[in-house]
Amino acid sequence: MRIVFEKRQSVSRRIRVLVPVVSMVFALIFGAFLFLFSGVNPLVAYAAMARGAFGDIHAVAETMVKAIPLMLTGLGVSIAFRMLFWNIGAEGQLAMGGLVATGVALYASEVLPPWSVLPAVILLGMVAGALWAAVPAALRAYLQVNETITTLMMNYIAILLVSHVYHGPWRDPDGYGFPGTARFPEVAWLPRLYDRAHMGLVFAIIAAAILWFLVQRTKWGFELRITGENPKAARYIGIRIPRLILVTMLVSGALCGLAGACEVTGVMRRLQQGLTVDYGYTAIIVAWMGQLNPWGVLLVAFLLAGLLVGGDQIQMAMGLPAAMGLVMQGALLFPMLGGALFAEYRLRIVRGSAEEAVLPQESLAEESKC
């Protein structure tokens, strides 16, 4: 007797939806044990987290502040993941977007007509993110350099460059030595919707709608989906894959750059420590949990942001480490990745010879070989 994986007759949509939900439950149960070990009643802790993240409109606004960069970077990496391009570089693209947006806001505000300052800040931030992403994209498209490594390495360059800039050349001369640039002039402030929650939310919703349309309804999206599903077939039907990689990564990087530009103009209104707080890495979880679907990404980003804010809350209110939120984020990913398997496979218990159960795949290999 043996347990084997068996391919399903059709992909189960029910399980697709169920997996993120069940994963969330798993993570909560896992977290409950951690709270128990810390000597805290998990129910009390979860109640505090929920109150902190979603308890009133101020809490929701604060959660939204964290959700916006997760939404934008999540959308950015999901579009790259669609064609199996592993963009781990959202963090760096976000940093470069923030950096260039800061440069424009600080040094071009007096030159440009006031109405054009904010659009210029945002757009050039997006361009910066796009160009930062274009480097590994071009390396992969034309020289087959592994993008996982290049995008990751470029993060360090971007993050340290940003840090250098606000510690050194762009440091606010009137800042009493505090590391950070001067505050942006008011024309470069991104309007806020409520408390600190800013216009970035609107951008994220518009971006999700545009992405959905692009992927589902355009030739570009069609090519993107084909390439992601079957790169061999993509080549065979004449898709120019290098160009597709470049264009897709420009879009991906632009969204991450937009996230950075929104952070500096909407939240901090200066460049300082706290721009790069791993949104770009969490974005990877967001993209997978959202099943690369734009609306799913928005929803998951909001929930994960709640976990982060809730973690901060229990630190303040109960003296527990804020890292609890991060731990649970990690705990989410494992059942997510494992569970994805069950959408296409199911477990079956086989009696008798185990050989029969594995035969179908073997026989395919055999037919093509002998």
Partner: protein, 514 residues
């Protein structure tokens, strides 16, 4: 060397039967191997040669039958059992760890290996073995540094190091240069001279005559004959291997070839391993004509199709389609020049399994203005386009939105056919279009090819099925080792001479049979 054969065989396989779902790979196959001989296992692709040897090597369990080694019935459950019985196999794809040295690879998998293997003794023994059998390889070299021929030597050394009595080699010459083939012959001679025995799998007649003392011929999973090479001829072996003397032909109208559509001149290209696969192929296919390419797999047919469709780079030569030069242009240029392509690998390359039937049917037409408005696709026109093709080509599918991977094999191929016949303008390259299909689907596909020809399309048909080539083609060209060794009109072709040419026998000077 057959006279050395002494009474009792060292290995017998009796009534071996192996079934896979839907396929009877081995049907009561018998095989005997004597000490001191080289036995060739000859057969076409799919005849069941590799399956039989994988049974012997413990990778598959037979459904019926017995294996008797040195007079004792044995149960071989794994390659390790096979080793313990003195049986070892060199697979077609080598089982070596690229980043380790020759000596490390040889000891890998040995039992009772100390925690830190003492490699000096291993190296000494390897050098001694290399000396004895003419298998010289530097024991300290890393596998990735070695040529394919040298890697094969390492595989053989691995077996000799383990002191096996029976060496199985699966198509050992497929990856070798002629010089390396000669070396391999010498090695095998030396091995069997010392009382070991070897089985090698092949589909090349020339090699049988060159290497082997005896030959066992498999066809459709059954063994049809065993002969001493001294008492047989290439002709007889070809007939046994192909096994057909009577041909069935369908009525087809006489072909009326028009202007040349595909012109290939002096084409050269490398295969995936970087070895020459096309060595100066020239070929013309005219409008309204089907040219069939016969040949045993691996003689350059796949590469020829890939170069014409832009998927593989040519190292020399020209490809012209409808008068446009498309050599080394990206696949899109070939498509735009009017090339349709039914790929060999229909699931891996021809379709996108997770996308719908409608989307798969539109994989090429989506660029046209019928299915899109500027950059935006029109799902409605895609659906009605799909409905037309599903009806026209009789594709059985629950709906246009069904994921294509849930269709049956025949319907998958009809989906590809529908798409490619609609997309192609002038030239269709069809590679093994009926392989694995049932009789009904096969007939449909062949009929469609003929209809397409009558519509004035030039068709290049690559197939290993000689019946199919004889039934459908107007001219047949035979490929062997990257060259076209003969071309003939179909009514002058007979299966025996095609079979001989497929196996590398040169007939006549201009490649003409008669």
């Amino acid at each position: 060397m057959s006279e050395q054969r002494s009474g009792e065989p060292i290995l017998r396989m009796v009534g071996i039967t192996k079934r896979f779902p839907g396929v009877l790979a081995n049907d009561h196959v018998d095989l005997e191997l004597y000490q001191g001989e080289v036995l060739a296992l000859l057969g076409e692709n799919g005849a069941g040669k590799s399956t039989l040897m994988n049974v012997l090597n413990g990778l598959y369990r037979p459904d019926e039958g017995a294996i008797i080694v040195k007079g004792q019935p044995v149960d071989i459950q794994s390659p390790r059992d096979a080793y313990n019985l003195g049986i070892g196999m060199v697979h077609q794809n080598f089982m070596l760890v690229e980043t380790m040295t020759v000596a490390e690879n040889v000891v890998l998998g040995l039992q009772n290996l100390p925690f830190q293997p003492e490699l000096r003794g291993v190296k000494r023994r390897l050098e001694a073995l290399g000396e004895r059998y003419g298998l010289r390889v530097d024991p300290d070299a890393y596998i990735w540094q070695l040529s394919v021929g040298e890697q094969q030597r390492v595989e053989i050394l691995k077996l000799l190091y383990r002191d096996v009595d029976v060496l199985i080699l699966d198509e050992p010459t497929a990856v070798l240069t002629p010089q390396e083939v000669d070396d391999l012959v010498d090695v095998l001679r030396q091995v069997v001279r010392e009382g070991k025995a070897a089985i090698f799998i092949t589909h090349k007649l020339r090699e049988v005559m060159m290497f082997a003392d005896r030959v066992t011929v498999l066809r459709d999973g059954r063994n049809v004959a065993t002969r001493s090479t001294s008492e047989t001829s290439s002709d007889e072996l070809a007939r046994l291997m192909v096994g057909r003397e009577v041909l069935f032909r369908v009525d087809k109208t006489a072909c009326e070839p028009g202007t040349p559509v595909l012109e290939v001149q002096g084409l050269r290209a490398l295969n995936d391993k970087g070895l020459p696969a096309l060595r100066g192929v020239s070929l013309t296919v005219r409008a309204g004509e089907i040219v069939g390419i016969a040949g045993v797999a691996g003689n350059g047919q796949r590469e020829l199709a890939e170069v014409i469709t832009g998927l593989r780079e040519a190292t020399a030569g020209e490809v012209m389609v409808n008068g446009r030069r498309i050599t080394n242009c990206p696949p899109l240029r070939a498509i735009e020049a009017g090339v349709g392509h039914i790929p060999e690998d229909r699931v891996e390359m021809g379709l996108v399994g997770g996308m719908s039937v409608a989307e798969n049917l539109a994989l090429k037409a989506y660029r046209s203005s019928d299915l899109s408005l500027g950059p935006v696709l029109s799902p409605d026109s895609m659906r009605s386009f799909a409905r037309d093709l599903i009806e026209g080509f009789d594709i059985v599918t629950p709906s246009t939105e069904t994921q294509v991977k849930f269709l049956s094999g025949g319907n998958l191929q009809k989906t590809i056919l529908a798409r490619e016949l609609t997309a192609c303008e002038g030239l269709l390259v069809a590679v093994h279009p009926t392989r694995g299909l049932d009789v009904g689907a096969t007939e449909t596909v062949r009929r469609q090819l003929l209809e397409e020809r009558d519509r004035g399309t030039a068709v290049l048909l690559i197939s290993e099925d000689l019946d199919e080539l004889l039934e459908v083609s107007d001219r047949i060209a035979v490929m062997y080792e990257g060259q076209i060794v003969g071309t003939m009109p179909v009514d002058e072709a007979d299966i025996e001479s095609i079979g001989l040419m497929m196996a590398g026998e040169q007939l006549g000077k201009e490649g003409n049979v008669r």
